[in-house]
Symmetry: C2
Subunit: 357 residues, 2 copies
């Protein structure tokens, strides 16, 4: 038997329920079947509002250094955003590690579909747009005027569209491998923008995405586009129509929360921040101060984020096992947290998923 | 009997189904009961893609001049946005007439609620944000980089928040007048922003909105806030919770399409572009090239926009009559266009509403 692959994973719980769900993610990794021949080592890292209060910075250099030098991947929980003027370290982390794609699959399971099976993924550009955070404020005789830069580059638009195309192809090959259950016969990418107003910035995104997806290797992919307001509308009217949605940073942020509403809870939706050689799994939900410390936060988004991180680290089998265990938990609907209408604790959901692993 | 008030209304059908719904709006105005003591005169005005092709400009000076000099209000249909690089004249019109508020009520009727009665209004800032359309593109050795300015001013944020507060109060006084049916006891304004990323621009919006709504006259208004991604999520999870939502331009654009999805069709949702002395009614839907010329476009959004325009011109009774006629049509559900699952034509829906007027 080949030597086990060892992956070193940084754990950044952050604030609030981040501290409840990240330990669940760690347990999942530790409990993967030995047959997968995977080993993990962990390093606890700091970031977030509490870190900011203790050390004066929300994202210590040490955290970034250790991620870069020692780790293969990481799990990020959530950070408090309740404080005016304080901005989340996840945005800085994405830039510092050049994790240029934010991949957010939104999927119903058999037992959780409300009749409309949804299986889409939002591929969000993760480094630019308004997230460059270049802002200034001018005092004028008529009051303050603040400006922010929205930056869209050909480069970043190209690479995110290419990833979107690749994800569309890989999803199709998974469907092809299970033809009986496939819900669509052709991969599709929907380009989202607002080029009817922002002809240069979003125009560049649109045009570059079209060009990237016109490459020979994507010839089987059906490419369409939607203006962002209409995209939100259609996402709610016919979510089952969509496969891969590619969008600039801010639209992707908004669309993924919207899509999460369709599957019942933000507590179900994972994400991965992906670069060429690194991936950070991150649940889409926030720090949820309203339920912090009650032990009832939904660990599913984090558990799925663990799987997603593993996918991008090349561990498809491990990922598939975790997804199946989660689907089993949701379909049985015996242990669900309150956001899903259940009464289970974080711990009970975790144990149920572990049992199915 | 006092002399009738005469209102002169500009009609700007634009492109596509704009040409089918604006005539329906005119018919409504012409058919208002004589007891209201209102007279209308109309002037047909050009704008849109066809105008652009004919004259080289999408918004002729003549259209703006006549609106400014002769008209009390106007109805705007929709314009084609399918063409890259061509941008909608409605954005220019809003700025040229300083129609700084875009008011978008989204409401279910008794027969159209799916169990969750929704009655909210999105108050969208209508003159700035990314809609200032200040963009530039730079050629770099690594490809093109485009930038757009997002501008948020204290002034515009203040006046839009004040309008939001006033609308919240006026909605409460309508509820107070019909206590049996009221769904909420206190007016509420939800401020939407993304100040966790855009601390200066959206931070200024947030802070200014808080200040505007802290005025003595709004002391009965409950003020809360939501980050835009979470706002989209909550809008879908508990739309019945919201009353008035105030937002910068782009978020307002996205949120109103999202809210429209909740009531079944964009074809139901009206808007008014409102300035200090002028209002343009505008259905929220677009030019809908897919159904253009088929005679099946839903006239309800335009008919409600007529009522909304009249409200802002001070004609509350006329507006109430129109709303009631529309509610009657929807609740009877006998004449509905295909977007609502019915088989009626634009003309049949119009006749049914007229009958109920
Ligand atoms: C916390 C916030 C800065 C972040 C974002 O806007 O990217 C969050 O909403 C997300 O989607 O991960
Ligand atoms: C057509 C477009 C420019 C417009 C906007 O973005 O304002 C439309 O979406 C709207 O909401 O009226």
């Amino acid at each position: 038997m080949a030597a086990a692959r060892t992956l070193r994973i940084g754990l950044i719980p952050g604030d609030g329920i981040g501290r409840e769900v990240i330990p669940a993610g760690r347990r999942i990794l530790e409990s993967l079947p030995a047959s997968l021949n995977l080993k993990f080592s962990f390093v606890d890292l700091e970031a977030g509002y509490d870190t900011f209060q203790k050390t004066g910075t929300a994202l210590p250099d040490k955290t970034v250094d250790i991620l870069k030098k020692e780790c293969d991947g990481a799990l990020f929980g959530a950070v408090s955003t309740k404080v005016a003027g304080y901005s989340s370290p996840i945005v800085a982390l994405r830039k510092k590690l050049d994790l240029y794609a934010n991949v957010r699959p939104v999927k119903t399971t058999a037992g959780n579909s409300n009749g409309k099976p949804i299986d889409l993924v939002i591929v969000r550009e993760n480094t630019e747009d308004l997230y460059v955070k270049e802002e200034r404020t001018i005092d004028t005789p008529n009051g303050k005027v603040a400006e922010a830069i929205k930056r869209i580059s050909e480069n970043a638009s190209y690479r995110i569209s290419k990833i979107a195309g690749e994800i569309a192809l890989s999803r199709q090959s998974i469907r092809d491998a299970a033809p009986g259950t496939a819900t669509r016969s052709q991969p599709m990418v929907t380009i989202t923008h607002k080029s009817n107003v922002l002809s240069q910035t979003d125009g560049l995104f649109r045009e570059t995405a079209r060009r990237a997806l016109a490459a020979e290797k994507f010839s089987s992919v059906f490419v369409e586009e939607q203006i962002v307001d209409s995209m939100v509308y259609k996402l709610f009217r016919q979510p089952e129509f969509y496969d891969v949605i590619v969008a600039p940073n801010l639209y992707g942020d908004i669309l993924s929360d919207g899509a999460a509403a369709l599957v019942g809870s933000l507590g179900l939706v994972p994400s991965a921040n992906v670069g060429d050689n690194f991936a950070i799994g991150e649940p889409c939900h926030g720090s949820a101060p309203d339920i912090e410390g009650m032990g009832i936060s939904n660990p599913i988004a984090t558990i799925r984020s663990v799987a997603l991180m593993l996918e991008f680290l090349g561990e498809m089998n491990a990922a598939a096992k975790i997804y199946a265990a989660v689907d089993g938990n949701l379909d049985a609907a015996q242990f669900l947290t309150p956001d899903m209408g259940g009464k289970a604790t974080t711990q009970q959901v975790l144990e149920d998923v572990l049992k199915r692993l």
